[in-house]
């Protein structure tokens, strides 16, 4: 098939090559690749604000002390178009977060993947669903 020579390589370049550089900020500037975090807690608040939405998660430590982490998500403009609103995740919802802590050592982390206790991902989507570009068809 004629597609073969350029198919996979082209898409890898299109999808992944562009992502890290062309965003509101470089992730490597804010988050520390050497400080991965695995957090198990409950959602206490959702801030649907720009440039990024933030999901606050209360995490209970081994000593029983609760600390509140802030998890960075996408632009609320995109989230709203995908059907994610301020009330999509109710306070008290248990979540598991895998991400990287911010470089300044504060209790903030990126949240590419946030998982509910039943294993469902909180954010699950692709660029082919829900976007205005697709809705017009």
């Amino acid at each position: 098939m004629k597609m073969k020579p350029f198919g996979v390589a082209a898409c890898a370049t299109l999808m992944l090559g562009a992502a890290p550089a062309w965003a509101h900020h470089a992730f490597a500037a804010e988050f520390d690749a050497k400080r991965p975090v695995h957090l198990v807690g409950v959602v206490s608040k959702v801030e649907l604000i720009n440039p990024h939405a933030w999901i606050h998660v209360d995490v209970k430590g081994p000593d029983g002390k609760v600390t509140t982490w802030m998890i960075e998500a996408g632009s609320p403009n995109v989230l709203l178009r995908r059907g994610f609103t301020k009330t999509s995740v109710a306070p008290g919802t248990p979540v598991v977060v895998d991400g990287y802590q911010s470089k300044d050592g504060s209790l903030r982390a990126n949240g590419k993947d946030i998982t509910l206790p039943n294993g469902t991902k909180l954010f699950l989507g692709s660029s082919g669903t829900g976007a205005p570009y697709d809705q017009k068809k």
Binding site: M3, F27, P51, D104
Partner: protein, 326 residues
Amino acid sequence: MCYRCFVSLGALFVLLAAPVPAQTSSGVPRTSDGHPDLQGTWTNATITPLERPAALAGKATLTDAEARVLETQSVNELKEYDGKSEGPLLTATGSAGTGGYNALFLDRGSEFARVDGVKRTSLIIDPPDGKVPRMSAEAGRRLAQSYTGGSFDSVKDRPLSERCLVGFGSTSGPPMLPVLYNNNYQIVQTPDNVLILVEMVHDARIIRMNATHAPPNVRQWLGDSVGHWEGDTLVVDTTNFTNKTRVRGATENLHVIERFTRTDAGTILYRATIEDPAAFAKPWTIEYPFLATKGPIYEYACHEGNYSLTDILGGARKKEAEAGRN
């Protein structure tokens, strides 16, 4: 080269060789003064990259069948990207970044840009290789700095998008390039002015019709735009940029000529030529559609919650403190 590629390239050469016509369009909405009505909400989201990927070298267009394979593959790769450790994925692209965007956070469309009935593999149509012409070393340095910023000593040294001053990747333009998300625009049109509201960082471009440029000492973040109609095409000429904006490393002497043609009820064909001899060996031209989309566009109050900047500068201070202790 396959026959199909040859035909596509041939068509592109013919297109580029011909003078740009003042395109006339029937069946498009018109304002009371008879010009095409460009008003509405539009998106330029597309997976067609600015420059043609090396793997598609020599292939300017795709048939629908070819495009569908790559578009499906693109969506599937994005799905696979979800939930995987990003380290190996990013390393494979040569990035040292930590990554962090869930697929749901991206909104760059799912299709290649379609112009004249065929899908394009690069936004750049001239030069025909789909690449930005040779850049000066200084332009290259400025382009790199637009991504990474300078030092971490002051907020003023950080990239403009990090500071919420203008959108990243020339989303507000000119030229108005598609980026990862918020590729939405609202156009309001009167006989004297055309306003383009850009969703990202709510930049507003005000184009003065049939006017002359401001004096050279008046510089603006998005340049000084004046417009006129050539037949049914709105032509916008922009100069008077600042030395702060960084459209592919261009200087303040950047000159952008944009052409907006409403080709049907749901499409504005957008073409822009970028000139800056101090940055690029020759002018280059991009072309792609803006498609009608459902509104509204949303406010993007970037300063409202820009915790990122605090984290970034705070991270640098922490690193300095740790270095001082060692």
